[in-house]
């Protein structure tokens, strides 16, 4: 089978476009592909991701009160005013709920608490459930208890938290970041998996038929790369469109704020998909590689948890992931430097990744089949 490279003329562009459009159409016609390209990503990105975003509601704190003294009321009022959503429970119920994972943290107000406040050394206990971190609750409790001793009446604590760029709806940015992270993972997995179409063409014999009909191998590969980009674009449009209808402010910082990281990630994902296709031989190998590469890139790149909590060495490794740079581009636009020029470095890295990986993939695809 001859695999020659020729510059693309007008007819060649038409052939590339035809291959891209027919491949995209064929992909979208299969219900199973729709499950993976749209339904599963929308479920995870649109529904599940939104559940992980802080609601803005006051944090909840279960309280077990065993003291009857005069300082219990001011303590609870002070905690409510910070603000916190308090729920009084009996000791046994509170412990059971902690162990069942239904409460994270419980404040125990022991008998003699009021006497300890009068003595100037308030005594309390904070119980936490398995793997719960009671830092936020502890800070508020300490602050209110200190207020009881100093005589400073507890009330709304005069603190305001704001984003560096107030114009871009900073309070909603965690939602965008989470949804975008899920989408980035599914985009990578889907596009790598869809690159199996090249191998299927070879397995079914349609590749040799196209070559006999006059298309060059380069045109077939370019057509498939175009199809990958189109599929990714449709998936992104669905994700952004549906979540925007549900209230996600994707355009609060302007169209480039979202368009640049999406477009650049798609270029990188198409390149990586071609690279995976170039270094695998069967559809089954591509499917396995897609799940592995896409999910690992998302995990390492900070799609599922903030990179602030991972070891410093892994924070450096994250820079190898396209998901890291895509999230960085989004973050730069919404939180830090603003849309446009500030997104340049992230976009440039993604495009470079796409070009390098795509080139490697095309070289791999040129190898004669085993």
């Amino acid at each position: 089978m001859e695999m020659e490279a020729r510059p693309l003329g007008g007819g060649a562009w038409r052939r590339v476009a035809a291959i891209a459009v027919t491949t995209t159409r064929g992909t979208l016609r299969r219900p199973l592909n729709l499950l993976w390209l749209l339904i599963v990503p929308l479920f995870f990105g649109g529904v599940v991701a939104s559940l992980f975003v802080p609601s803005g509601a006051p944090p909840r704190l279960a309280v077990v009160v065993e003291d009857q003294g005069p300082w219990v009321g001011p303590l609870l009022d002070g905690l409510s005013a910070t603000p916190m959503d308090l729920q009084r429970l009996g000791r046994e119920e509170a412990l059971a709920r902690l162990h069942q994972g239904r409460e994270r943290v419980v404040l125990w107000v022991p008998d003699g608490f009021s006497r300890s406040v009068d003595a100037g050394v308030p005594r309390l206990e904070i119980w936490y459930g398995p793997r719960a971190e009671p830092g936020v609750e502890a800070a508020r409790i300490r602050a209110v208890v200190a207020g009881l001793v100093t005589g400073n009446p507890a009330g709304p604590v005069p603190v305001v938290v704001e984003g560096p760029r107030p114009a871009a709806e900073p309070d909603r940015f965690p939602l965008l970041r989470t949804v975008f992270g899920f989408w980035a993972m599914f985009a990578l997995v889907s596009l790598i998996t869809q690159a199996a179409a090249l191998h299927r063409e070879r397995e079914l014999g349609t590749l040799s038929r196209s070559l006999v009909a006059g298309a060059t191998y380069g045109e077939v590969v370019a057509g498939h790369a175009g199809a990958l980009f189109l599929i990714g674009l449709l998936q992104a449009a669905a994700m952004v469109g549906v979540t925007a209808l549900a209230g996600a402010p994707w355009f609060a910082a302007g169209v480039p704020a979202i368009a640049l990281p999406v477009g650049a990630l798609l270029v990188a994902a198409c390149g990586i998909a071609l690279a995976v296709a170039g270094f695998t031989r069967t559809s089954r190998q591509i499917n396995a590689a897609g799940s592995l590469v896409g999910t690992l890139a998302a995990m390492l790149g900070g799609a599922f948890w903030p990179l602030d909590v991972v070891p410093v060495s892994l924070q450096e490794v994250a820079r190898l992931s396209p998901v890291y740079w895509a999230l960085d581009g989004l973050r730069e636009a919404f939180v830090f430097g603003g849309p446009g020029a500030a997104q340049g470095p992230a976009v440039a890295v993604l495009v470079l990744m796409g070009v390098l990986a795509g080139t490697a993939g095309i070289m791999g695809l040129r190898r004669p089949p085993a």
Partner: protein, 388 residues
Amino acid sequence: MTGLRQAAIIAANQLLRFVLDWHGVLILFLLPLAFNLVLGVSLRQAFSPEYRPERPYRVGVVIPAGQEAAPAVEQVLAAGEADGWVHIERYASGEAALTAVRQRRVEAALVLPARFPREPLRVIAEPGTVPASVVETLAREAAVAGSGAAGGAAPGQPVPMDIAIRPAPPPVGEQGPVGAGGSPPPVDAMAYYAAGMAVMMIYLATREGTKAYVTDRGTGVYLRVRAGGVSHAAYLLGTFLGSMAVGLIFMGVMALVTRGLFGVHWGHLGGWMLLTLGATLAATGVNALLLGFARSPEVQEGVSIALAQLLAFLGGSMMPLFIFPEILARISRFIPNRWMLDGYLQLMAGAGPAAVRDESLRLAAVGVGLVALGWAADRLLARAAGEG
């Protein structure tokens, strides 16, 4: 007796087909082990209640000279710095601190206004991040301490208090899992995800049996074997037994490999076997039920992977259960993966077989029920297709 023997032969054949497909075996083990490694290392610190960042978060601080609350605020910040949470950098103005945040020279800024407490203490940070949360917590403490100082109630002195922060004691009448040191041994991120990933992949392992059945139907092998005198019931029983055999072998290998590679202790062997039997039965049941919906290998593969991911997510295999929002935590209590994960985590934390008896029975009951449903659905579809 002949039927049982035929079922056993079919099950053994399916097991053999699974083992000989080295590529499939590699994927089945490689994926969860790779995820286990990345998740275990990445979230190692986040699983510890004594979590501190390896590199303290840089905080730009603006404190006007002569502000009444300044000493109290300084004291709280110094305590946060000494505790390893933050590294303080001084800035002359709020604008300079804001610029430093925008240019990412610091993760957050804390600005004490000259008119505090009439004007609130400002925290500037990327919303929803750990540094934002840490600095907000410090700011709240500082605001209370500073308000007292500014109001003249206390000259910025720390208030002595006896606040103990400790793991919840076990409820009365229950003996919590106890480790060698007398306290519950921690289940770290590596162990959590060893269980989480195994539980996620058990559905794909037990799919091997039903996949072989669907493939046999597609290739005509099924009819050929039936023509040789094997009943539909024996074929289906062999299929489900084959699924269970692959599932049990998968869990056993995962336990041994994660023990060897990552040092994960799976706990009491008897408890592990009991729970693994229940888990394998439940996973086989889910795949049996899928037979009623997916009659081609391709559709079965796609749907089963999607379902396994969904159940894994809702059951806590991907995101740790302790960061689940309330609604997801409630939903997860109805998901078999959560029962499996809870059981393995209890065993890892030192519990005995009695602690996982309920989970094992629940899983087994669900498994038997789903296998029965899958059997009925398959029978119905076979009759509809004109098979006797």
